[in-house]
Structure formats: C-alpha cells, structure tokens
C-alpha cells in the first residue's frame, strides 16, 4: 500500500511539469501583455514596458518558465500576482478553504439526497418511485447552477431572509451555494447510483444473501450497497476534485472568494503567475483527490486492497 501511494505521488511530478508548461504556453498565446493590461487604455508604451520589466515579463517564454519552475520547485514560490502583487501561494492557500468547503458541502449534499433516492429508484425500478426521482434528477442535472442560485437567493434571502446573499462570513453563507451546486450534482449522483445499483442487485451474491433469509433491507444496504458504492465513490470523488476549481458561476454569484474565480480573473488579465500557480495547485489537489478515491476503493473492496499491496503496487 505504501509503495502504491509512493508510486502515485511520484507520478504527480510529470503531471505537474506537463500542466504548468501547457498552461504557460496557452496563457502566453492570449493576445496582449500584462503591462498594457494592468495599465489599461491610455497608457504610454514606456510605462507598459516598464511595467512588463518590473513583472519580469520581458524575457522569452522558456526562460520565464524555467525561472518560474525553479522558484516553484526549490523555493516553493509560485510568484506574485501581477495585479495585486500578493504571493500566489498565499492567495491560493487563503482561498483554498473556501473552495474546499463549497465543493465538499456540495458533494456531501448531493450524496445525501442522490444516493438514497438512487437506491430507491433502482430497487423500485419502473415504478413511480423510480420514474419521479429519475425525472427530477435529469431535470436538475440539466440546470445551470447560477439559475438555481438566483432562484434560491430570491426565495431564501429576499423573501424569507434566512441566509445572507454575500460573503464567506459564516456557515450560513455556505448553505445556498451548497444547495445550488449540490442539486445538479445530486441529480447526476442519483443516476449513477441507480445504474450501479441495478447492476449490483442482479449479481449472484445478492441472491445468495436472499437465500440465506436476509430481509430485503439488509440485502440492499449491506450486500448490494457496499458493492455498488465503487462507482458512486468514483463519481463523487471526481466531481469533488473538479468542483474545487470550477464552481466559477456559483462563486461569482455568491461572492465566495474561491479558486475558480481567482484563476478566471487571472486568465482575463493575463496574470501568468496566478493562472499557472492556481492551476498547478488545482491539479495537485485533483491528483490527491483521485489518489484518495483510489485508496478509499481499498477500504470498500478487498480485491483492490490486495492489488495495491501486491508486488506491482
């Protein structure tokens, strides 16, 4: 197991190098330069040049990349934002809890309502208990998060006054983003749970459990669920990893200072350190999340545990 984890950690190194180089190149292709961008319309060329020089943008791409990676690897320094002059690393670390909380809450919420309903609709396949949740799930999964968010705001902030619209000031601020993001994801989760469960309840060992005289509840939650969990975990973990960086519309709407909006601002301003640093950290987190998902397989499934501990692992 340790060797498996170690191997996976080592695999992150080429990924990080690849991600950073790719992003560096893509951002470089965005027209314009940070200097003119920061100074806005009406700036003089000499000021723009001075600005670019101060930012270290006047060197060729590969040289900048080399310097950037050198600092990133040996000094753990992801550079300073062109616009705020704040160290990207600290900025990201400050924003990380917000993004993690939003993503974690949303995924938890989606699991809490997606999984039981998914199981229900699988067990009661082709009845109303199946049709209504599945239809609802599809409906939710095809809603843009901002629309749900705006509607939630109108209801719960304006009319009921339960939750604040803005800020990341207290737990209350995280409720509506959780629901706005969690609902569409819960819809997706429901569908995955349902199909995974449908597959599992047709397995022989489920019949074996019934033959033992186990009541349906036990058959489903103990025998079938544990086996059907794997794809559910995969989807949840993946969504979690993705959501950390891409809850942009929700972050914007609810004024949450998360990583997604941070990187988007960087892209718009050609803020190379912000985009590169932000995406590197997101990629690392994503890799860790996927690793965590893989490790959690081992807890659910002893066969996978055995594979990890095996010689290849």
């Amino acid at each position: 197991m340790h060797r498996f984890i170690l191997r996976r950690l080592l695999m992150m190194i080429p990924i990080i190098i690849g991600v950073s180089l790719l992003i560096f190149i893509i951002i470089d292709l965005v027209p314009g330069d940070p200097g003119s961008n920061l100074l806005g319309p009406g700036a003089r060329q000499e000021d723009i040049d001075l600005m670019n020089e101060q930012l270290g943008y006047n060197y060729p791409l590969l040289q900048r990349y080399g310097v950037y990676m050198y600092n990133a690897v040996f000094k753990l320094d992801l550079g300073k934002s062109y616009s705020t002059k704040k160290p990207v690393f600290t900025e990201v670390v400050n924003r990380l809890p917000v993004s993690l909380t939003v993503a974690f809450n949303a995924i938890m919420f989606s699991l809490v309502f997606g999984v039981p309903l998914g199981v229900l609709s699988a067990v009661k396949q082709n009845t109303l208990f199946d049709r209504i949740p599945t239809g609802l799930a599809l409906l939710l999964a095809s809603q843009p998060a901002f629309l749900i968010g705006l509607v939630l705001m109108l209801i719960f902030s304006l009319h009921l006054g339960w939750f604040p619209v803005t800020g990341a000031a207290s737990w209350k601020s995280y409720i509506m983003p959780m629901v706005a993001l969690g609902l569409p994801h819960g819809g997706r989760q429901l569908r995955f749970t349902r199909s995974s469960m449908l597959e599992t309840i047709r397995q022989d060992y489920v019949r074996t459990a019934k033959a033992k005289g186990a009541p349906p509840r036990r058959v489903i939650w103990k025998h079938a669920m544990q086996n059907a969990l794997l794809p559910v975990i995969t989807v949840a973990g993946n969504s979690f990893g993705v959501l950390i960086g891409s809850a942009i519309a929700t972050e914007t709407l609810f004024g949450l200072p998360g990583l997604g909006t941070f990187v988007v601002m960087g892209i718009k301003q050609k803020d190379v350190p912000v985009v590169t640093g932000g995406i590197i950290i997101l990629a690392v987190i994503f890799s860790f999340v996927i690793l965590a998902v893989d490790i959690s397989y081992a807890f659910v499934d002893p066969r996978i545990r055995a594979k990890y501990s095996g010689r290849r692992g």
């Binding site: 396949q125 082709n126 397995q203 022989d204 060992y205 019949r207 074996t208 459990a209 019934k210 033959a211 033992k212 005289g213 186990a214 009541p215 349906p216 036990r218 025998h223 544990q226 086996n227 659910v300 499934d301 002893p302 066969r303 055995a306």
Partner: protein, 336 residues
C-alpha cells in the same frame, strides 16, 4: 418406495413463466414431485430445461420483475410456500431450506470476509439467542466440516480457489442445519478433480446430517453417485422419473430423450460421463410445440407425437411420459 404420510417437500403441478415486455418464456410447465426426509432427489436435464427455475421457485427467489408462478403449489413441512408472506419465507430460507448455487465465483459477496458471510446466516436465524462465542464456534465448526481451516475465516472470497469457494458456499448453506438443501449444479463451474471432491463431500455431509437434498445437474455420473430418486426434465416438464435404479437400468423402458442422454452406454459403474449431444436444440420456450415437446428431435417420433401430449406409463416406481409406451393415466392425475 413407500409413500410417507407428509412428504418434506411436495411440488404439485407447478408452472412458471418469465414475462418481459417482449415475450413470455414458459420455463416450467406443470411439474409434480415430492421428496421425503433425508432423501436425495436428482433433477436432470439440459440447460434451459427449467431445473434452476424449479429450485428458485421452491426458494421463492424468482426474479421479482419477471418471474411469475402461473399455477400449482409447493408444500414444505406442511406450509404452502406460495401463499406465505415474505417475512415468513425469510425465516424458512437459510434455516429450513438452503441452496447451493451454480457458480461459486460469483455467489459470494466479494467485499465480506467469508466467516462473516457464514455467520450472517446464523445471526439471521438466531431464535435461541446464541452468544457471539457460540456463533463463532459454530462457524469454525462448519468451516472445518467442509475442510477449510477455521483460521481462514477472516479472508475474502478472492483469496480462495474455486473449489474452496464452493466449500464456503456449502458451509454457508449447511450452517443452520436445514431440512432441505437444494444444490444447483454445484460442480459445473469447477475442475474435474475438484468436482469429485465436492460431490464426495456433499454426499458425506448429507449422510452425516441427514439433510434431504435436491441435486440439480446435467451430469448423470453425479446422479448415479448421490441420488435416491431421479427426474429427467425436458422443456419445463418431467418426462421420466423413478429411483436411480429405474433410470439406470439398461433393460427397462426409457424415454427416447433419456436414451439419447445416456448415449449407447448407460452404465451405472462408468463414472464422469458428460451427456452425449442429441441432434437439434431445445424448443423455443416462448413458443413450445403442440403435443410432445421432444417430438421435433425424437428419432422414434410418430404422427401422434406432434398433436397430443403423451400420458404416463407406469411401472412400479418408474414413470415415463411417452406415446411409445401405453399410458395408464395422465401423469399429473396419477400423482395427486
């Protein structure tokens, strides 16, 4: 063969269908048999003859959405199983009636230690409040009974070989000492050498515990080794039934299908034969032919075979449903 007052299991005129939105499969078409305590009953036939469906119906484990009993009844220890509420049925399953499934590879829950899976059956039927230690002891006991060291009970199914898995399945079925054990092709998925071991073990255990058993197989050698009575099934019907001796006696009358099964050498002493193939395929169960369902493949077929269902020829304990033999009366009527 004397008729007991109350047989352990009595299947009367049972018919089962599988219905999907596209088609209706008539899997079992009016079969009747009974089984007394400690008796082993062999159910023989090709794949698709309705053997497994019969077994699943006895356990009431037909697929909920599709499987449907369209007629007949099943009586087990005096209870009419088909009318029993599900909660009552749960008490019978595993405790009074247990089943060994065809494929040990898939019939164990891969994410549960084997000990726990055996233990589960005990816990589910723990009416006399056995202590934890007592339950563990019983698990160890039953494991060593099937030849698995008790120390391996914390291991997972994937750590066992096929034969070992089937031993676990058997242990799981026997742990509550059921009155009836249904073994659905318990060795089909196993190596030939392992097959012999498992069969030997089942026979031994059955004798030791005095459990009645339905042995479903298409291996006539196994039937010969283990069964007291045998029924041959074809297309959802029993076409020949009798004691093992009746079926295996070369000189007696036989159904052409049974003769086909045995090929030219139906010999009790020759072991480990597979069925010799009979030309043609089983009729489409969604569209059974009129008359005798074996007639399209029958090499002794007469014109009447295509039109009328054959009656039953009876000779002592031996019964055959074929037009070639003079029927005494209709099969079902006779068995009432």
């Amino acid at each position: 063969m004397s008729k007991p007052a109350v047989p352990l299991l009595r299947v009367k005129n049972l018919s089962v269908e599988y219905r999907s939105d596209l088609e209706t499969v008539k899997a079992v078409n009016g079969i009747s048999f009974f089984l007394k305590k400690s008796e082993t009953f062999g159910l023989v036939g090709e794949t698709g003859a309705g053997k497994t469906t019969t077994a699943l119906t006895c356990m009431r484990l037909l697929p909920e959405n599709t499987g449907r009993v369209t007629g007949g009844e099943i009586e087990f220890e005096g209870k009419k199983l088909l009318n029993l509420p599900e909660s009552e049925m749960q008490k019978i399953r595993g405790e009074r009636m247990a089943m060994i499934f065809q494929d040990p590879m898939t019939s164990l829950n891969p994410v549960m230690p084997v000990g726990e899976q055996i233990e589960e059956a005990l816990k589910l039927h723990n009416e006399d409040n056995k202590t934890k230690d007592r339950i563990q002891k019983r698990v160890d006991e039953v494991l060593s009974m099937v030849g698995i060291p008790a120390s391996r009970k914390c291991e997972y199914p994937h750590q066992f070989s096929g034969g070992m898995k089937q031993r676990v399945v058997i242990a799981m079925a026997l742990v509550c000492e059921p009155a009836l054990l249904i073994a659905d092709e318990p060795t089909t998925a196993l190596d030939v050498t392992i097959q012999a071991q498992i069969i030997e073990m089942i026979r031994e255990l059955r004798e030791r515990l005095g459990t009645a058993m339905i042995m479903i197989t298409h291996d006539l050698g196994i039937v010969a080794q283990t069964c007291d009575n045998v029924a041959v099934m074809y297309a959802g019907k029993i076409i020949e039934m009798g004691t093992a001796e009746d079926i295996y006696l070369l000189s007696a009358n036989h159904h052409p299908y049974t003769m086909g099964l045995f090929g030219s050498i139906p010999n009790l002493r020759t072991k480990a034969r597979r069925l010799t193939p009979i030309p043609g395929l089983m009729p489409d169960p969604t569209n059974l032919p009129e008359g005798c369902s074996f007639s399209p493949r029958c090499f002794k077929k007469t014109s009447v075979c295509d039109e009328v269902s054959p009656g039953v020829y009876r000779n002592g304990t031996h019964r055959i449903s074929c037009h070639l033999l003079k029927a005494e009366n209709h099969w079902e009527a006779e068995r009432q």
